[in-house]
């Protein structure tokens, strides 16, 4: 396994929103989902995830409620709100544009 990359500032929120766009999840589920998708290439601090959730709930991008898991445990589930979905869409688009521009410059070779 290669050395894990640090996350670029702001992208954690985006990844969390992406995770929640599939289904409501509790905190650990989000962690597991991110690890699975990134194949361990991102170094996500578990604590940072919760700060991100607090931040986004406060901003009205997601909401939370207590539910029972499949194993009948009480867990706090987070759910995407319409504002969060919009945020995910626009931020993803701008990040893609950014990466494309960056790649274009960095991959150019002297003629």
């Amino acid at each position: 396994m290669a050395e894990a990359l640090p996350l670029i500032k702001g992208t954690l929120d985006l990844l969390v929103l992406k995770a929640l766009s599939w289904a409501p999840m509790h905190g650990f589920e989000i962690c597991a989902w991110l690890e699975e998708r990134s194949d361990g290439s991102f170094d996500v601090d578990d604590g940072a995830l919760y700060y991100s959730l607090h931040r986004m709930e406060e901003r009205g991008l997601i909401r939370s409620e207590w539910r029972l898991t499949d194993n009948n445990r009480r867990a706090r589930y987070y759910q995407l709100l319409p504002a969060g979905r919009t945020h995910l869409r626009t931020e993803t688009a701008s990040l893609e544009r950014y990466v494309r521009a960056l790649t274009g410059i960095l991959s150019a070779r002297p003629a």
Partner: protein, 906 residues
């Protein structure tokens, strides 16, 4: 936002608190992570260590930080929610108000008047009574007076001051001051205010010159000191173009030159508020200053730190007694009665005497009255909102039924009333601004003196009234209080819904027969009662004003222009003055439209003139005690010009000049008081002024003229022909056939030619002097009358509103009655009786309250008692008539109810 969403957003409060929940969430996270790692083959111990590491190392620290973060999140979300709720409530209120523009405009107007009038009067009360005096540590400043029996306060003489200054230990610094007027001589002469002070004046007040230096301390050593002046900032700007090199130059006052030491701080014009120059009183010569009975100076002192006003007062009592022993009353000096006098001294905080007590009282009365108007406004608003809440009973019941909390609904309704109040508050600023402006323009100091309201510190004046930050804060606070006051009661009773009944009943109008609630009736009763209190108060004041205006001042003020003329000393030699005055009179008499010109030294309604004692040639001095008499220098034409009737004997003629036998004319009161049962004509008297102490013959008796105030009875007066004892200051009276004000420019121009270096000032028609003599009474009466009118209007609309509502509620019942054969006239009587009953109960309570509260008007009333039955009866009739009119319209509507329509309705 839709109703359900509004309701369901209420009260989302997580049980257990954010921190506990966070800990539970974290615990769950740890367990899940450990389970995952164990499943991947780690030992439980290693798995736990790894799980904690991924959370950021120290578990305790993670717990604390995440707990903090969760709490912060909830706090912010709650705050945001509260703000959204408020915004929703405000938007809801605004929409509701916009739907009913008539109601809203009426309510906003009502509140604007109520709050605005209160704010304007507050600004007056603040400026005149509350605001701290503009001196350093004003609470340490004391006004020290000599006392002569109860209420008899007297100023100080230099020797007495010196004794007090050397003996008193309460003060860090004390100073004398006395205001007068002088002439700024030189080019473009000008009449200005001046204060003669001791060198410690500014340090005592805690002030410093803005330029140059203060009076040197050695000036206070004694009489005959060099002449030093400080000039006001205003004078410095106006006459010296703010020249910084002004110090060391001289200023010419009454043709004497004074060295300018410095410039006073901006805005400070002495305690008189009117001085442009301060001079050292020690510049006077010794014989002018060392008379112990020359009582002319006021004394202020700054208390030493830690000395209380009470301690200073008791020291003043002791020292006052000692001073009385050191300077005993000499026999035959100026005293007003034969009783031995007990002289002492007293010290009062300067702040306590800032305005005349009568002025303080009338301000407080008006402030109380305007507060009452606002109270009625609130009651009326509550009444209106209660009617609204009743109409919305069903909507409110629905909200309660689907889970809105009562507190939330009350908040919703109170928000509406506060929004309404804020709209009124904003509109009130216009009213307040205009009101404060009007208040600041009335009652210049001269008018106050003419009404016996002078006294106090001249620097505290009506000109200080303006809307400042404190007035705005007052208006804002008042607005919120008012909004809560008239909003809370209707919101409370409006949401106290009997759920099932209100839902079942459907339309509130369906509940016929129950009439209107007790609460609304009590509100109307309260309104009527308050209105009667104001009506009674204003009725008494108007009555008093009427009496005041009926007073015959003793002369005819119409078509007379008055101008003051002050000759600088030496301008005209003493013996040439009569000729000079003759010239002036002749010049003015030649102007077109002039019907008569005359001179007199002190105008009527001046708040008092010069007086002295009179003795009688045919009686020993002890027989009459000390007969006080006012002294007036007049030209021969004065009585005719002012239409003062000559009752007996003769007036003065051109032959009564220097060298001719001295003659006096006395007024009716003097004749009655000093010559009871004998004929004054031909009697020899000595008047101790103007050289008439050598004796003069009484040659005539004229009618009384009020020289003091319009409401004080005339005192004994004597008139001296100015040609036998000329004085340098005269008032010119010009009777015209036209508008006296229109004559002013040509009269001024003419006087400039004849007397180019004599300042001419205080030019106004005699009628405006007469008017300002009753301006305080007029002002109080008019304002109170206005307040009463507003109160009456509000009470009438209150009665009208309640009766209309009652009739609307009972339409079906009335319809049935009429269908069953009730006489329409009896229906009319029924409704009228109900309205009349409300008015009657209100009037009864109001009568008791008025009798109790109009007692504060005692002392402000002229020839009316506070329980004047005529006034009360008249006001009750006014109120009853208004109440019946207000009930008449709804009653007529009730009597016209069509039974078929009424019964079919709903």
């Amino acid at each position: 936002m839709s109703l359900p969403r509004r309701l369901f957003r209420l009260g989302i409060r997580r049980p257990g608190g954010a921190r506990d929940e966070m800990l539970e969430e974290l615990e769950f996270h740890l367990e899940s992570r450990i389970a995952q790692l164990v499943a991947r083959g780690l030992s439980p111990e290693d798995a736990r260590r790894e799980a904690v590491r991924r959370l950021g190392g120290s578990l305790a620290q993670t717990r604390r930080r995440l707990g903090d973060s969760a709490e912060r999140r909830d706090r912010r979300m709650d705050m945001l929610q509260a703000m959204r709720n408020l915004a929703d409530d405000v938007a809801y209120a605004v929409r509701g108000l916009a739907r009913r523009p008539g109601f809203t405009i009426a309510a906003v107007l009502m509140l604007a008047i109520g709050i605005g009038a209160n704010t304007a009067l507050y600004s007056a009360v603040d400026a005149l009574l509350l605001r701290s005096l503009p001196y350093a540590e004003p609470s340490r400043l004391m006004d020290v007076v000599q006392t002569n029996g109860p209420g008899g306060n007297s100023p100080w003489s230099w020797p007495r001051y010196r004794y007090f200054r050397d003996a008193a230990t309460s003060y860090a610094s004390i100073a004398l001051h006395q205001y007068s007027q002088t002439t700024l001589t030189g080019t473009d002469p000008e009449r200005i205010g001046i204060e003669e002070v001791t060198a410690a004046y500014l340090p005592t007040l805690g002030l410093k010159v803005r330029l140059g230096h203060d009076f040197p301390g050695d000036l206070d050593a004694g009489p005959g000191a060099r002449k030093v002046a400080l000039i006001s900032d205003a004078l410095w700007q106006r006459r010296y173009n703010a020249d910084p090199a002004v110090t060391g130059r001289t200023i010419s006052l009454n043709r004497e030159s004074w060295e300018i030491a410095g410039v006073l701080p901006p805005g400070f014009r002495g305690l008189s508020g009117r001085a442009d120059v301060l001079v050292n009183l020690t510049a006077r010569q010794a014989d002018d200053l060392i008379q112990p009975w020359s009582l002319e100076f006021d004394l202020i002192g700054r208390l030493r730190p830690g000395v209380t006003p009470a301690a200073a007062a008791s020291e003043a009592h002791i020292l006052g007694g000692r001073i009385a022993e050191v300077f005993p009353v000499e026999k035959g000096t100026l005293t007003t009665d034969a009783a031995p006098e007990r002289w002492s001294a007293d010290a009062r905080p300067l702040n306590a005497i800032r305005v005349a007590p009568a002025l303080r009282r009338s301000l407080l009365v008006l402030f109380g009255a305007v507060g009452m108007v606002l109270l009625i406004t609130c009651v009326n608003m509550a009444n209106l909102l209660m009617a609204r809440a009743l109409a919305r009973k069903q909507e409110i019941a629905v909200r309660l039924a689907i889970g809105a909390s009562r507190a939330r609904l009350i908040r919703l309704l109170v928000t509406e009333s506060v929004v309404l109040a804020l709209m009124g508050g904003v509109a009130s600023l216009g009213v307040a601004l205009a009101g404060a402006r009007i208040l600041s323009l009335i009652n210049p100091t001269e008018a106050l003196r003419a009404q016996g309201l002078a006294g106090g510190i001249g620097a505290v004046s009506f000109e200080m009234i303006h809307l400042d930050a404190s007035a705005l804060a007052f208006a804002f606070g008042l607005t919120l209080v008012v909004g809560l006051l008239f909003g809370l009661a209707p919101a409370w009773s409006g949401t106290r819904a009997d759920l099932s009944r209100d839902l079942r009943d459907g339309s509130p109008l369906a509940r016929g027969g129950r009439g209107i609630g007790v609460s609304r009736r009590s509100l109307v009763v309260a309104e009527v009662a308050l209105a009667l209190v104001l009506l009674a108060g204003s009725g008494l004041m108007l009555r008093s004003l009427g009496n005041l205006l009926q007073v015959d001042p003793g002369f005819d003020a119409r078509h007379v222009l008055t101008l003051r003329l002050a000759l600088p000393p030496g301008e005209v030699a003493h013996d040439s003055m009569p000729g000079f005055y003759d010239e002036i009179q002749a010049a003015l008499a030649a102007l077109p439209g002039v019907d008569g010109v005359a001179l007199e030294d002190c105008p009527p309604l001046n708040g008092g003139c010069n007086s002295t004692i009179m003795t009688f040639a045919d009686r020993p001095p002890s027989a009459t005690g000390n007969a006080m008499i006012g002294v007036h220098w007049v030209s021969p034409e004065w009585f005719r010009t002012m239409r003062v009737p000559l009752l007996r004997g003769r007036g003065f003629t051109g032959a009564d000049r220097i060298g001719a036998p001295k003659v006096v004319v006395i007024n009716e009161t003097a004749a009655r008081r000093y010559f009871p049962g004998e004929d004054p004509l031909g009697k020899q008297v000595a008047v101790y002024q103007g050289g008439f102490n050598t004796g003069a013959e009484v040659v005539g008796i004229v009618g009384d003229v009020r020289y003091e105030t319009i409401d004080s009875t005339a005192r004994p007066d004597a008139y001296i022909p100015y040609a036998q004892a000329p004085v340098g200051r005269m008032m010119i009276f010009v009777r015209t056939t036209q508008d006296p004000a229109a004559l002013a420019p040509s009269a001024m121009a003419r006087l400039r030619q004849v007397a180019p270096s004599a300042p001419i000032y205080d030019i106004q028609p005699m009628e405006s002097r007469l008017a300002s003599a009753s301006s305080q009474a007029r002002f109080s009466a008019i304002l109170l009358g206005l307040f009463a009118l507003v109160a009456l209007t509000l009470a009438v609309t209150g009665i009208y509103g309640v009766m209309s509502f009652a009739v609307a509620q009972r339409t079906r019942e009335i319809g049935i009655r009429i269908a069953l054969g009730a006489d329409r006239r009896r229906v009319l009587a029924l409704i009228l009786r109900e309205g009349g009953l409300l008015a009657l109960v209100g009037a009864g309570i109001g009568l008791a309250a008025a009798l109790a509260s109009t007692r504060v008007l005692r002392g402000m009333l002229f020839e009316v008692t506070t329980t004047d039955p005529g006034t009360y009866a008249a006001m009750i009739v006014v109120l009853a008539a208004a109440a019946l009119t207000a009930s008449w319209l709804p009653a007529r509507r009730a009597a016209r109810v069509d039974p078929m329509v009424a019964i079919r309705a709903d």
